[in-house]
Each structure stands twice: as C-alpha cells, then as structure tokens.
C-alpha cells in the first residue's frame, strides 16, 4: 500500500516537472507533503512501532500548513512601493 502511494506520487511529480505555472508546482508539493504523513505511518507498521512513528505524522500534519501559508503570503501580500503605481498587465490563460 505504501509502495503504491509512492508510485502514485509519480504523476504528481510529472505535474511538478511539466507544470505551466509555479502554482501548479507548489500545489503538487502540498499534495506530496500530506501524503508523507501517511507513508510515515505505513513505515511504522513495517517496524511494528506505530506508537513512535505517529508522532512524526502529527508533526507533518501540523507543520505542512506553514509552507502553503508562506507561499501564499509571498504572492499576495506585499509589493515594493516603487512598483505599486504601475498596474500589472493582466495575463491571459495559457491554453
């Protein structure tokens, strides 16, 4: 089951490699980060010490949030004062 999770990560890595925008790549990173918690629990069953590995999974479930928040904050909160006057050109969707 864990191996199939790792195999299913390959399409997401494909999206991270080919992704047209940076946001696609960051989205893929977010998905992989969530799945890491599951794979850690599965590794715990292989070692028969799930009580120990569950702590790692809690750490991942709590701290994965930080990465997505910092990226979103980078993109939408702060602009340099010199560039505030000129409006950005609206981009069209890439088809």
């Amino acid at each position: 089951m864990g191996a199939s999770l790792l195999v299913l990560m390959i399409p997401i890595l494909y999206r991270i490699i080919m992704g047209p925008t940076g946001f696609d790549r960051i989205l893929g990173v977010n998905v992989i980060g969530t799945k890491t918690a599951v794979i850690l629990v599965i590794i715990g069953t292989l070692f028969d010490r799930v009580d120990m590995f569950v702590d790692f999974a809690i750490a991942y479930a709590l701290l994965n949030f930080v990465g997505a928040i910092v990226v979103s904050r980078y993109f939408n909160r702060t602009v340099p004062l010199q560039e505030m006057e000129k409006p950005k050109p609206r981009r069209r969707a890439k088809v």
């Binding site: 191996a3 890595l13 490699i17 990173v29 980060g33 120990m52 991942y60 930080v66 910092v70 980078y74």
Partner: protein, 82 residues
C-alpha cells in the same frame, strides 16, 4: 521485501527531485521543491531506523527551512534565474 521496495522507490524519487530543484527557473519554486527533498529525506531516515534524525528533519524541513528560504528570496532583487 517491503523495506527494500521502499528504499528503491524513495531513492529514485530523491534523485529526480534533487535534479528538479536545480532545473526549475523560479527561485520560489526551487525553494518549495527543496521542501519535497526534505520530506523524502525524512522518509529515508525513518525507513533506515534513524528515528531521531528523521524527527529533526521533519520539524526543520516542514516548519522552518522553507520559510527561511522564501523570506530570503523575498529580499532578493533577482526573483528568477533568467
């Protein structure tokens, strides 16, 4: 059987991600892809049985290193590797 399969898969994904983090143009995306590198590294440590190292990698990689790298990129003039 299970552990060796994990070993092979994680190591091959690790090589792909390491090349990818150098290959992407945007510095922010590069910093975030370092996050995946850290996740896979944590899986590798955990799967080799080095649980304390894996826990350090988990907390530092998920909590602090991405934030610090992006805060650094934010203060750079050059955002993308052109």
């Amino acid at each position: 059987m299970g552990l060796e399969l994990f070993n092979t898969l994680i190591l091959s994904l690790l090589v792909v991600v390491a090349v990818l983090s150098l290959w992407v143009r945007d510095l922010v995306v590069s910093a975030v892809v370092f996050g995946i590198y850290s996740f896979l590294m944590c899986l590798l440590w955990a799967e080799m049985g080095a649980v304390d190292v894996a826990f350090t990698e988990a907390t530092v990689g998920a909590g602090v290193s991405t934030v610090v790298l992006i805060a650094t990129v934010f203060n750079l003039k050059r955002k993308a590797k052109d």
